[in-house]
Symmetry: D2
């Protein structure tokens, strides 16, 4: 498949995700952390326009002079932008104008890809990976936004909850291991450099924690005993009056959760999702176990199945030895977020096809829950 074809495939997938939405759904923004579908569709397009077309195609004319203001996400070096919590207020341009914007940029991009001598390929691939990241957010933000609707709308099926197999312990030996990406294909700067890490004896679970296991923790008073919790986690559950994972709701003694297929009775044998780092840690403490480090996860990952849940690790999101920030706006992609976030490894049911690998580092603040975040347990030996 040619790069232009791959490009168009990624672009089409974003629209595919939205195929069941009504026009009104495209503007939903229920909190500052999530973005409306229309914004995701426009912002990923803007990324190609600003980072590739404008600097490299002298004949390219920007679609609209204010789209740079409207659809910049966080690139300070590219100027002022819409306040993050106002993204849902941009009723204009309309959904149909944003679709036109996409088509317009797609044509220009394919023209540029075909006439360029591969010097831009790396940047095009970055843009495609960027869009794939937003495809996951598009889905998870949508779920979060629709959850506020008392009508419990059903919009699509992505197989959120499937049976999780029986778990067993995979043991790994102490020693120096190689960590980080070292192939020739695409990776993010935060996966570099490939470097050595000393790891001590440990074991890691072959399966994820299930809803049923987490329910045992809840029924055993897990949310009522501070000894399982980080101090901040305890403050968070008390302040927010949290008693269960996100989207869970108890009705007449039965637990339900909201899914993109509508509200359902929880499936005890499926992998748990929508817990944050505090909850993941508290659950592990209650079990007398712990979360793996991101390094342990990476060196053991070829011995277990993964890909349903982003899995919390006990590693903070920090630069690898020799990490350097790229010059210009692209340099704002990863490095500036390396504080106060925890690393998640793996991929989830919402991750786009071909957008995962063993060295991929996802990261979120420890209180976030709206991604398909799950738990895999570990222990020191």
């Amino acid at each position: 498949m040619s790069l232009a074809e791959e490009f168009q495939g990624v672009r089409n997938h974003s629209l595919k995700i939205c195929e069941n939405l009504i026009t009104e759904d495209f503007s939903l923004q229920a909190s500052e952390e999530v973005s409306p579908p229309k914004w995701h569709l426009a912002h990923t397009t803007w990324f190609f326009e600003q980072f590739i077309l404008v600097p490299n195609d002298p004949e390219y004319e920007v679609k609209h002079p204010q789209f740079n203001f409207l659809f910049n996400s966080y690139y300070n070096s590219l100027g002022a932008r819409t306040a993050r919590n106002h993204r849902g207020l941009m009723s204009r341009p309309s959904v149909s104008e944003v679709r036109s914007y996409r088509a317009y940029v797609d044509e220009a991009m394919k023209g540029l890809i075909q006439k360029n001598d591969s010097g831009l390929n790396q940047l095009v691939i970055l843009g495609m990976n960027h869009e794939q990241q937003h495809q996951e957010l598009l889905l998870t933000d949508l779920k979060y936004n629709l959850w506020f609707n008392p009508l419990n709308p059903r919009v699509m099926d992505i197989g959120e909850y499937a049976n999780e197999p029986q778990s067993n312990w995979i043991s790994m030996k102490e020693g120096v291991y190689q960590i980080g990406y070292k192939g020739d294909s695409f990776c993010y700067d935060n996966e570099l450099n490939s470097h050595k890490v000393y790891i001590h004896d440990f074991a890691i679970a072959s399966a994820l924690v299930t809803n049923g296991e987490y329910l045992e923790f809840m029924n055993d008073g897990g949310y009522d005993d501070p000894k399982f919790w980080h101090d901040e986690g305890w403050a968070w559950i008390k302040d927010q009056e949290v008693k269960a994972p996100l989207y869970w709701e108890k009705q007449d003694d039965e637990w339900f959760y909201y899914t993109l297929e509508g509200q359902k009775v929880i499936d005890k044998s499926a992998a748990l999702a929508h817990v944050n780092f505090y909850e993941a840690s508290a659950f592990a403490n209650w079990k007398g176990l712990r979360l793996p480090t991101e390094f342990e996860w990476e060196v053991a990952q070829d011995q277990f199945e993964w890909g349903k849940r982003w899995e919390w690790t006990n590693s903070a999101y920090l630069p690898y030895p020799g990490f350097t920030v790229a010059p210009g706006a692209i340099g704002e992609y990863n490095g500036k977020f390396m504080v106060n976030q925890m690393v998640l490894r793996g991929a989830s049911v919402a991750t786009s096809p071909n957008h995962s690998r063993p060295t991929y580092r996802n990261f979120f603040h420890p209180n976030y829950r709206w991604q398909f975040m799950g738990i895999r347990l570990a222990k020191s030996l």
Copy 2:
């Protein structure tokens, strides 16, 4: 015109206001105080359904069991409701479903009006007046919501700024005056009872304060000198960094304002709008004058033109002697808001036809500015 025809006329007017909107505009809610157009369209419909159809038409079936939850505004006696700041998050029901809801209720209402022996007329007229109040909010909320859009959308012309005539002083004599509504037509409970008020000698301006006059106050440092301001007003302008009326923006030494026709250079000879009570009071103090009381306004109003701006008075919103709260949900209409609000008198360019009279009492918190609020000066003699 029959009551059914009047009813349909009021109902049509709500849709007429929205005729230039695109589907995406119908969900905008830029702050907790304003509501989306779709919500106004649905809530005014719900009012007829809940207060008239459900209790009085045994054959009526509610359109949807959850619309009572979705479209209740603040009637505690009618049960739980959507959080006020979540009104913009209800992407479903769609705009077209809300239009169907309106048509469905209209039919049922007209049927009920025709077969009833006028016992419900008073309630129907209250519902029509309620909808007219929301028509004004629909317009002013829309202006506020669209103002957040950097594209400065133009959606309609309601003649926001027209020339204001020269002002002169109208003097009134001390004595006992009759205040409040005493006719046979519709009025709100807060205009009753008609009662006596002792008023001292005063004069009131025949014209409203203009943009040009307010600009003199601004240029004279009006926003920088605490001696003109209430203590709370001063704290408010410092905290919010306010330097001008709402919607005003300075570009290269020239002042512009946003209107529903798009952004324009300010017209100095037009009546000022979008100042709050603190600003109105500070301006009056700067002039060595004051705002009128609502009683002074009422007894002098037949001697000047009014209807362009809601005019701030220096009267707090309080019950008239002998005021009583109606039983049931209708009793929540006015009385429970009688604290911490100031009375405005008159009507504005956004007021619906036939929805104003000399005894009408509008009221807002002293910091609100998004209505077409203006200033008429007064002085004691």
Copy 3:
């Protein structure tokens, strides 16, 4: 008694209030609305220094150049000042230095009073009245601050709760009444001008509402039914989880309150205190009655006993006809607070001797409870 003697009497009374305090108590500030005893002692002294000594005594040297910054309360025209919520952080000057400051200013003031030809008397009397106002706050702030201490300290007895007599209705006739101060002694500017008000037939209770009557309201679900409450009051009790007056605490089915004598079982026959305007209004609504206006209270007050509680009225704090603001800093005393506050009439157990009269207008935001605020009921006839 000479003015100098009266002056010294007022000054001594402030120290008398503090006689049982330990040094540590003098710095307490539990919220922005209350001030530490040391601050009250210093601020009332600063008032005499800045408004009388500095402008009128050419030989007077200010005690310390930064005391104007430290002890200004809210006079914008006198320059910058300590942030209100930082008053408790001024460990220096010490309590003993503030006592020296008081003695130093007292000497200078008495010298000035004796040598001046009465031209300053009005200002001296204003300063004395200002200090008497702070004496009340000193007591009520102290109660509030000490209430945070789990040791329930006992510091003095001011007879907070005494038996309230049986109540009966006092009826008054419709007509024009004279309102406001018109004698030759001291009054505040907000009591002027004496003017005419038209009052309709009404009756007012001869006694205050008791703790026992309020407990009936509580036991009858008064805090659970929105129909008794202003919309803002309902939001306030839900947000703050209020179930009882300030200082009340339930232990094993019995209600206690904190007093300056320590914690006690409530006395059902004593006059209720520490309710805000929302609670006072809700109680009145529950009774099918209402609060009096400040005008009704004033014209009826010579027919009942008052002086134990500040009594909430249903009048907003607004200027009387012809009210004018004095030039300079003294003009900041009252006028700038005339928005969003309700008038209380009477005096309380914490009011200093000789600091009450029938035309006195106290005022507080409707949510405040820490003064000895009570309820007297009224009804229209």
Copy 4:
């Protein structure tokens, strides 16, 4: 020196720090993060009472039944406690009562130490180290609290700013290093277990960053260019309007800082203090360098002088391999804080004698500045 003598030495040092304070200073609490001197004196005493005397001395009687409530800091397993931001409101017990409490517990402790067969020694030593930690906080909290006083009080000299020597680069070779404490003396649980870490080639500066170097960063627009900053750091400086380290103030083009000796002109050749992790990182980025990891710092520390400043590392505060939480309340000492904090290494001018070692891990949220936090630069080779 016997353990009892060492114990008394530590206890005396706390009082020594307070020797220049006046009674009013002992209650200061300017923000939730800092505590009043009186609280530190009482809380360290409570620690011995609750963790050693109550469980181990059957004859010991607690000084006061409510001191457990008043002086618990964050031990959930020991019951309810004073809200952290209310510590400054406890005017009672008085300073002198807290001194008595200290003497009472000291006597009981010395009795217990002398009669016990060393089984408790480890716990006594933990209590002494706990008190030494609070001695540092006592000093730094005091500085913070007094800084709010416009009188710039001078209370003691601890040599905050001394000349920093010229810096040069110390290079270290790649390989596996041993990290963590492995001696026989006291260490905290977070320094265990001693374990292997793989470190890559790096160099570390022999000296700390000076005020003069940081001033160059400021003058070069360091606070105005987002490219040097973490995204959260940039948001923090914009939100807080930060332009300089804590305690710095510009007067007529000259920079001053507040010290415990009063306000002084900054000394350009002294080691910088009072910057947070965001500022430390931004400074390093501006230099084209980086902060060291805590492991790099530990393996290189014997080749440079340290002890003036707590030094920010780029390591998040996480458990070492095999870390386990002790059972009971002592287990709340460290583990529950292992999220969202960064490690600082070294010691500062405020650290108590004998309270530092190369493996000591201090930790704070990345936005905190009130400790004597400084910067040591590093680079990868």
